[in-house]
């Protein structure tokens, strides 16, 4: 029996992306929101690699590689921001970080 059609990979990518969006919209803790963003980025990477398989080119892999690198840089800076916010507001709940003046 031949392998799974490429559609299945794209559907999996859509499912993961939707779950990432759900986590981003429905959760209150800033760290979980950030992890949902990473989930969305991973779903997009899977799409890139799937299309690269279909078109038999390596460009998709290179794009996914750049997405990975940018996600790593973003995680570093984002977590530093989270640490600073926690140090000042002493909470990780995004609903309570809702005014510029402390």
């Amino acid at each position: 029996m031949s392998g799974p059609p490429l559609n299945w990979y794209l559907i999996l990518s859509a499912v993961l992306f939707a779950l990432g969006v759900a986590g981003f919209l429905f959760r209150k803790s800033i760290i979980t929101i950030f992890m949902s963003i990473e989930l969305m980025l991973n779903a997009v990477n899977l799409s890139f690699v799937a299309f690269s398989y279909q078109l038999k080119q390596v460009n998709g892999h290179v794009f996914a590689f750049f997405v990975m690198v940018v996600a790593a840089a973003e995680a570093a800076v984002g977590l530093a921001i989270i640490l600073t916010v926690f140090k000042n507001r002493e909470t990780l709940n995004v609903d309570q970080v809702n005014s510029m003046k402390y």
Binding site: M1, S2, G3, P4, P5, L6, N7, W8, Y9, I11, L12, A14, V15, L16, A18, L19, G20, V21, A22, G23, F26, K28, S29, I31, T32, F34, M35, E38, L39, N42, N45, L46, V49, A50, S52, Y53, Q54, K56, V58, N59, H61, V62, A64, F65, F66, M68, V69, A71, A72, E74, A75, A76, V77, L79, A80, I82, L83, T84, K87, N88
Partner: protein, 165 residues
């Protein structure tokens, strides 16, 4: 065999992703996210992207998620409190998500009908040599710009995480 491998790791990925969103304690979400990344690495291997699979584990699961786990341990983040969700969000949230998903799947099936089956080993263009050649010839400018981006990120993280704010 490819179908079985895909199904097993796709189900693991979806279950872990649901876990990321559903669990209250951030550490459980982080461990589930590591599970998602691991199963995605296996799916990349099935799609012939071996360098990317190893890069996913080295960079994403082995460095970025360690950073997440560190921050969760340092901040001593506890379980999230379950309150304050409006009735509209509770009623409409899950059905709207399923609708979004169905729409996305429909468009995918519509525009890419009956396409290439994915065999393990059919695409041999994902080796380190080919990606290296692409990175250093065709994508040289994004590569150099990304390295400056990482430098900016390092400097920013060091400045932000200092003791005096």
């Amino acid at each position: 065999m490819d179908v079985i491998l895909f199904l097993v790791f796709a189900i693991i990925a979806v279950v872990c992703a649901v876990n990321v969103v559903v669990q209250t304690h951030p550490i459980s979400s982080a461990i589930s996210l590591i599970g998602v990344m691991g199963s995605l690495a296996v799916l990349y291997l099935l799609l012939g992207a071996e360098f990317l699979a190893m890069a996913q584990i080295i960079v994403y699961a082995g460095a970025v998620m360690v950073l997440f786990v560190f921050v969760i341990m340092l901040l001593n983040a506890g379980s999230e409190a379950k309150r304050g969700r409006s009735l509209a969000a509770q009623l409409l949230g899950f059905p709207l998500l399923i609708a979004f998903l169905a729409l996305a799947s429909y468009f995918i099936q519509r525009f890419y009908p009956g396409n290439t089956p994915v065999h393990f080993g059919a695409f041999k263009g994902g080796t380190a040599q080919i990606i290296g050649r692409a990175l250093f010839t065709q994508y040289l400018l994004p590569f150099e710009v990304t390295s400056i981006l990482i430098l900016i990120a390092i400097v920013g993280a060091v400045v932000l995480a200092r003791k005096e704010i």
